[in-house]
Amino acid sequence: MYRSQRLALKYFAAAVVLFGVMTLFGLSSAFYFVHPTFLLNTFNFNTSKILHINTLVLWLLMGFFGSVYWFLPGETGREVEGIGAAEVLFWVFCVVIAVVAAVFIVVQYGPGTEFTLWFINQGRKYVEAPRWAAIAIVVVALVFAYNVIASTVKSRNYSGILMVLILDLIPLCVLYLDAFPRITNMSKDLFWWWWLVHLWVEATWEILIGCIMAWALMDLLGSSRRVVESWLYVEVALVLGTGILGLGHHYFWIGTPRYWLGVGGFFSALEPLPLLGMVIHAIYDAGVNHMQASNRPAFYWMLAEAFGNFIGAGVFGFMMTLPQINLYSHGTQWTASHGHFAFWGAYACGVITVIYLAVQKTRGCSRLDGRAWKWSFALLNLGMLGMVGALLVAGIDQAFFERALGGSTWSAFVALQHQPWYTEGMWARFLFGLVFTAGFAVLAYDLITLGRIRGVEEAEPVKAAAA
């Protein structure tokens, strides 16, 4: 095994730990909605939410880094260039996350000074990490980019996947610089902030996961490189074509010019089209392989990715993306339902797919199957479906009573807290959050023990299969 792949395993382990942390803080955040005085003045809702969302970003980022470090040596046929620096920076990354989390939990916020921006909290949603930590993340990303580019150049293997990945690394690093400015005009600040939040997620991350899933397809199903790369180009063109200017749906109500209503609405309406193509592709691959693969968990998580992406981003997104609807729905629990489902489908399922592929290779299993992964698959997806369904009901109720009827006033907000559809929706979200948490626990158990502690009926090691 290459050093790069050993590093990938560390990234996967860290990603799973952060996935667990994200789940726990998500659960606590959900509980605040049904019991608002929970840990009041001890550990406030805003801190719980910050930790939930930031660990979401970080566990996926670590999963992506791990996935690339896992596949890169196989692609280039050599050890990753600069792997020593990458190994050191993995630990730096972990220490940064731990320190920032500790500061968030203990200190939480400070006065509006430079010191606060540098060492406590930048106060910008989703990129709250203080500047020193944001700089550290940029350094990690730059070394990651160097690893990929230098390894490609040294190997002289300029494959389509690597070239797409290298082009994607430029915006991946550059857009994160948007985490730093302190712009006092709120419209201008939000204008640039969305470049980070939207373009990272709906452009650079989409391409990154596209490259990762291309490698995963070749590894899992033996798909030919030419087929995978051709499809990757089509997907990248369609996703970028609709996703970049789809940014406009975030510009509807932040003080930007009126034309963004048309631009954002138009390109957002096109966004589900390539997602349907991905669903067709997933069914094609499933059919060609008769729903069988040597790694069934990875195969099913890969299918879940295509369907989750379509429903979460496509269906839930289109419901609320046109300006006339979005006027009432933006920033409500309705948005939260779309966000949860889209992240889950587009990225989380993809990262779990690659982790199972790595587990199969490292534990020497000729095939992976068993009961535990089925339970985790069912519980996680059922929990997610239940949560997004409950949030959807609560969000529609919120848009209806608080926004459309109540005119977004403070009294309408207070009145909403007594609407049964809203309160019961938030309870249902919490209960399905418990189901999701149980699914995570089974997933962690499965990943830790599969092919290591449990016998051949669960995971069949190579020797047993050969015998």
């Binding site: 030419r226 087929v227 499809w231 089209l273 669903v279 060609v288 496509g314 006339q324 609807i325 729905s329």
Partner: protein
């Protein structure tokens, strides 16, 4: 737009994309499983999708340009499953041809045959 119209329109927009997805799903399953009975089900989903489009155009207070966009999307959704499917089949067929040193074949009308033969 009234509060009721907002909720009704949003749910119709969701159903619009969901039915397009069901059409694509059933179309693909009909091809991959060679179950001709699924194809009418797929087209029934598309018919429902078309019906939702008609309701969106006729009965909702969305602006005129958005309605034109929805009609255009409806037509695009009809074409995506067959075009994607044929593209995938032709990609795989060309790959098979190049593996065996043969000249890549052109696209054929019955893509499912190639899947059968691979199995």
């Amino acid at each position: 737009m009234t509060a009721y119209a907002m909720v009704g329109t949003a749910l119709l927009l969701g159903a619009f994309v969901l039915l397009a997805g069901l059409y694509g799903l059933l179309y693909s399953l009909a091809m991959v499983l060679e179950r001709p009975r699924l194809r009418p089900a797929a087209f029934a989903c598309y018919a429902l999708h078309f019906g939702v489009m008609a309701v969106l155009v006729i009965a909702t207070p969305l602006g005129g340009w958005w309605k034109i966009l929805i009609v255009g999307s409806c037509l695009a959704y009809f074409a995506i499953p067959p075009i994607t499917w044929r593209y995938l089949v032709s990609l795989h067929r060309e790959e098979e041809g190049s593996h065996h040193g043969r000249k890549p074949r052109k696209h054929v009308a019955r893509p499912v045959v190639s899947i059968r033969s691979r199995a």
